[in-house]
């Protein structure tokens, strides 16, 4: 296993569009182990995407199961060729990125998503994700399309007031 170097903006390679993985072979499995090791070597990242280590394939890892304050989650997910098929709601949240050191900013993301992906055993999954985990997934999937959270920043003055839930 090896820890890969993380590309940081303004490295142009972060803007590349990643290609689909055709088959999960030994090389891909080895790469996934390296990607996970790289994620864990950093300062508590809940996700990482292949293009962040200069491999332009549609692979991301997301794991929000170890938050200080627990959030809804699907545990540790290795997602190959992930695709969001449904978006719902909007929420503003603060994001930072291993590829953009020393800056965090507000980004609006869908609150709830449905997505399809293949895991490292070539099993297909379709899941619904909400809140913080959905945010992490959207952040990572953006990397596959050459987008950084900087592309989606909103002003700190932009506020989305929580909708009140009226009791019957």
């Amino acid at each position: 296993m090896s820890i890969k170097e993380i590309l940081t903006y303004p490295n142009e390679a972060l803007k590349n569009i990643s290609t689909e993985v055709e088959a999960v072979d030994d090389e891909i499995l080895q790469f996934i182990r390296d990607l996970e090791e790289t994620r864990q070597s950093g300062p508590g990242a809940v996700g990482i995407a292949a293009p962040q280590v200069d491999v332009h394939k549609r692979i991301v890892i997301v794991d929000v199961s170890n938050m200080r304050k627990p959030v809804d989650n699907h545990g540790h997910m290795i997602m190959i060729n992930p695709e969001i098929i449904h978006w719902e709601g909007m929420a503003k949240g603060r994001e930072g990125c291993l590829s953009v050191p020393d800056f965090t900013g507000n980004v609006i993301r869908a609150e709830k998503i449905k997505l399809r992906y293949m895991d490292e055993h070539s099993q297909q999954h379709e899941i619904e994700s909400t809140g913080f985990e959905a945010r992490a997934i959207q952040h990572e999937l953006d990397h596959l399309d050459g987008l950084l959270f900087l592309d989606r920043l909103v002003s700190r003055r932009t506020d989305l007031f929580e909708r009140k839930v009226y009791k019957k």
Binding site: V46, G93, F132
Partner: protein, 170 residues
Amino acid sequence: MKWSVLTLVAADEQGIVAAVSQKLYENNCQLAEASMMRLGANFAIMLRVSHPDDCNLKEILAPLTEKMHLHIHIDNDVAEKSSAPEPDVNITVYGADRAGIVAKTTGALAEAGLNIIDLETAVAGSDAEPIYIMSLEGNATQGIEKLQKAVDELAADFDIRLSEIETLRA
């Protein structure tokens, strides 16, 4: 190179930002963080600027301060950089406009350990019944629970809401 903080206030007119930043650029100054806003009919800019040791910001901007009636304040030799504290809490307050709303809320929140990083307020509503709106971000240096308790107590007088900021690190 030295760092200074520049504060400029003027009656709002088009082109202030462009004129100021162009002048600074021409004189080998570089901008770091900047915040600009309208305060009533005034325009205010605060900028952290790096500049050559022998550069006199006041002189550089003199033509503009006259032309655009800019009031200028300069703090020289400020620290080069400090890593920005990460807010972990957002608090919004709104209520009928009345004297003391900011003093009362921020006083109680400071006592409960709030370190304010960012604060904005506005007056809205009608002239007859103005409302005051405040939004702030900061650190709960003595824990969220203690701060939440202070917020709950303030809720008797104001509409106030605390939400935790969980920064995504990915």
